[in-house]
Assembly symmetry: C2
Homo-oligomer: 489 residues x 2
């Protein structure tokens, strides 16, 4: 007994003249709404999915004719077996997320592909279950960020499906897979209904539309999109609406940062020999990782002047230059700013066999953006979940995620600022802003503490590096990477 | 008798102490120059290539240790046989062109890959010759735009090569290919020398460095880059330097545009039946093109209000939505603005089997940017060659390129502007700027004329569409596309 799919029965079928009149009005309204959408700073994401032969292509082609196609991008993905396995599952969908004011139509995307993968036994029931949780999180993340997500599922009854296959059986449109689909109809429908129910929510509901009468199908799809856009354009600012869902974290336990033992140091000889040893190991291990297709993500965060740059250089110059990239994270470009804040990090996720080193990262959301009030409380509060989900997408794909927090105390920081001011090739690194940031030390402490506490997972743990002694810190960083690679390879 | 490669013999080999002192000074200077580079609005492109076993990787790794690796991107390309054949040869190199102020190191890039392809018999001597012409044009284009291009070739003598292979013969570093390379040494060197000579120019010269002594090799490479950067940073504004090379086009022949017969029109019945017929053909042909991996690029340019949008919609809605993309070309994003002006178009070149429709295009350089003086005369004058080369890169890869110029006269334009002002859903399309542009009609005429005359090649011809009658224009556009596809498939 299907639950969501039965909804389609209630839909009217329109006579020719009624249809013509409805379409005329619909086109004009859709076109006008499209201009209003273009002025929004958030995108519209339309998912058009459905049963085999239910008319997904035709529906999308019709919508492209009704709307102005110049400002819509259709993102169509190959059959599941041809998916680029070099990157995490959601990578390609994130990559194609439209910028604010744009409309993206997704076909054969995350839901359809998951259904097909499950029906083809490419993923187990257990994996499907996990996948559905990720889909919920992905769509929630888009919705929470202010995007409109409209999901349409086109459905055909078994009889209608049979009829449609019979119609084309002797034409070039017929595909042996059609016969197979018909044979497996019941199992497919059961799976689809399960998947729809599990990914149906108040904010990103499924709209099930009958694919039987093509014209009525197109009208229903158009009306569904029209109504969703109208409601979205009239929405209250999203931050207010979402505020209740998130609670401020409990006051930070001040002890965590204070309890970091900053005393470790090593002498020059120890430094030279240890660094040499671990760098050689790192070189070999990364060559091996490259051969084996093992990807690595390194995140460097830390107090200003804690020595991130120096540590990164010791790591990078130990690795063959062709297999890693360093991504310095600063102010987003306007293209990046027009997207969900995680988009610009998804862009740089390494392919299998490669390493990406992030010099600062997505944690800016819960550090500088929180403290400087560049993100609203709702935004940074929900970011912990979003970040954990993001990193889980990486680790579940098999990527090693290593995150470093380089820590020094306030006195050491001041000493380094002063030293920078009198060193010719370091002067450019010190600005008034650095001193201003120092005044917000208590707020940063709290933000750092919350971050370390809420985003240290088993697969993507934080490694806190006491960096009062630069030599010690550099050796520790390289050593930690070596350990992580040894465990994984 | 080699010509360029023999240069390497004149290079000194440094003793250990000298080397140490030289490196210390070099590192400091390079690091300081790197900060100056970061303030430039043009990029630095370093090509590090060389014979097998001459130490390309080691040299790059060393440079990454000397410079600040966080602001350098190494672009390494797979072996020739693994090249992604979905896109034109130069596509990947354009994609990775650094933004202004950034440094990109290229390894196994356009020159090396061409040598390897030729030695492996993947491309013929004739193709190599053509490729070398493209390489000259590509590097010239980067240089003319103001980039610094430094090309280093690391060379080993036959004896040194033999020695190096002997050294590693019993280690895991040995590769059976080494033996083969040694056997084919003479032919390889002959090819390399030929390729270097053919791609050596005053502005983008090759620097041949001996790979025999690793430390001296690194120092020579570092010094070469240092000197090139110093010279580049002290350069005169590039536009002035390049000015002499380009001559203004002869005054436009006013007859070309006037000779366009704007009278053709068709009635409603003819329009409906012809459009239906050609759209159905287009649908089928594009399905076939998709199956066969045939890519298509459509360019729509035209007088304001000539009906580009309407024509594009008639084309787009005839094609299956999953296989085409429309790229509306407006103001560049800041990321695009920081790159060579062709970069943002290379980004959108279709993969095999896909169509990209450009709603306005790279021709903006020689139209609006010329007339509004957004590009210097040197920039738009050399753009004709650059554009012809760009389109040749597409057609040589097998992409169909169809370019439409939609033309109406001034009276018709005014009538359409007026009509837009009183049509609710078209009002947004008309601004004061449109009227201002009209005042520059004579300048635009000249620019249009030059463009049509200088960029209509056999493989990428302009199709001039008399668009006084919208119905006629739309049918002509779809018909032209159908014809182009029929000829190619």
């Amino acid at each position: 007994m299907t639950k969501l799919l039965q909804l389609y029965k209630d839909m009217p079928v329109y006579e020719k003249d009624t249809a013509k009149a409805l379409i005329k009005g619909l086109r004009l309204q859709l076109l006008q709404l499209q201009f209003q959408v273009a002025k929004q700073d958030k995108p519209v994401i339309l998912v058009i999915a459905g049963d085999d032969r239910a008319g997904r292509h035709e529906t999308i082609n019709t919508l492209m004719g009704w709307l102005d196609p110049r400002f819509i991008r259709v993102n169509a993905y190959g059959p599941a077996e041809k998916l680029d396995e070099q990157k995490p599952f959601f990578w390609r969908y994130w990559r194609d997320i439209p910028a604010g004011g744009h409309i993206g139509i997704y076909m054969r995307a995350w839901t359809s592909t998951s259904v097909v993968q499950y029906l083809n036994d490419d993923i187990s029931g257990k994996k499907l279950k996990r996948r559905l949780a990720y889909i919920r999180q992905f769509e929630k993340s888009l919705h929470d960020d202010g995007a409109l997500v409209v999901k349409i599922w086109l459905h055909l009854s078994k009889d209608a499906h049979q009829e449609r296959v019979d119609e084309i059986r002797d034409t070039s449109f017929f595909d042996p897979k059609d016969e197979l689909a018909l044979k497996n109809f019941d199992k497919a429908i059961e799976t689809i209904d399960h998947v729809l129910c599990e990914t149906h929510s108040k904010d990103t509901p499924w709209h099930v539309i009958s694919g039987e009468d093509p014209t009525s199908r197109n009208i229903h799809a158009g009306q569904t999109i029209l109504q969703a856009m109208q409601k979205w354009l009239a929405r209250a600012p999203v931050a207010v609406a979402a505020a209740e869902e998130y609670e401020a974290p409990p006051p930070a336990d001040p002890n965590l940062l204070d309890s970091i033992d900053l005393s470790p140091e090593i002498n020059k000889e120890e430094y030279d020999s240890s660094l040499k040893k671990y760098r050689e190991q790192l070189h070999q291990l990364m060559d091996q990782a490259h051969e084996q297709g093992q990807a690595v993500v390194c995140v460097f965060e830390g107090v200003d002047a804690a020595g991130k740059g120096g540590a990164i250089r010791r790591v990078a110059s130990a690795i063959d230059a062709g297999i890693y990239r360093i991504v310095p994270v600063a102010k987003p470009t306007d293209e990046e700013y027009a997207h969900h804040y995680l988009w610009r990090f998804w862009r740089h996720i390494p392919a299998n066999g490669m390493m990406t080193i992030f010099d600062r990262s997505w944690y800016g959301r819960v550090l500088v953006e929180r403290v400087e009030e560049l993100a609203t409380p709702e935004q940074w509060m929900r970011a912990y979940d979003e970040i954990n989900d993001f990193e889980e997408q990486l680790t579940i794909h098999g990527i090693i995620v290593v995150k470093f927090w380089l820590h020094i105390d306030q006195d050491e920081q001041m000493a380094r600022f002063k030293a920078r001011e009198i060193t010719p090739h370091k002067m450019h690194k010190i600005t008034d802003e650095d001193y201003r940031n120092r005044e917000k030390w208590p707020q940063y402490r709290e933000a750092i503490h919350d971050m370390l506490e809420k985003t240290s997972s088993k697969k993507a743990p934080w490694t806190i590096i006491p960096a009062q002694d630069k030599k010690y810190a550099r050796v520790e960083v390289v050593k930690t990477l070596v350990k992580a690679l040894k465990e994984a390879l």
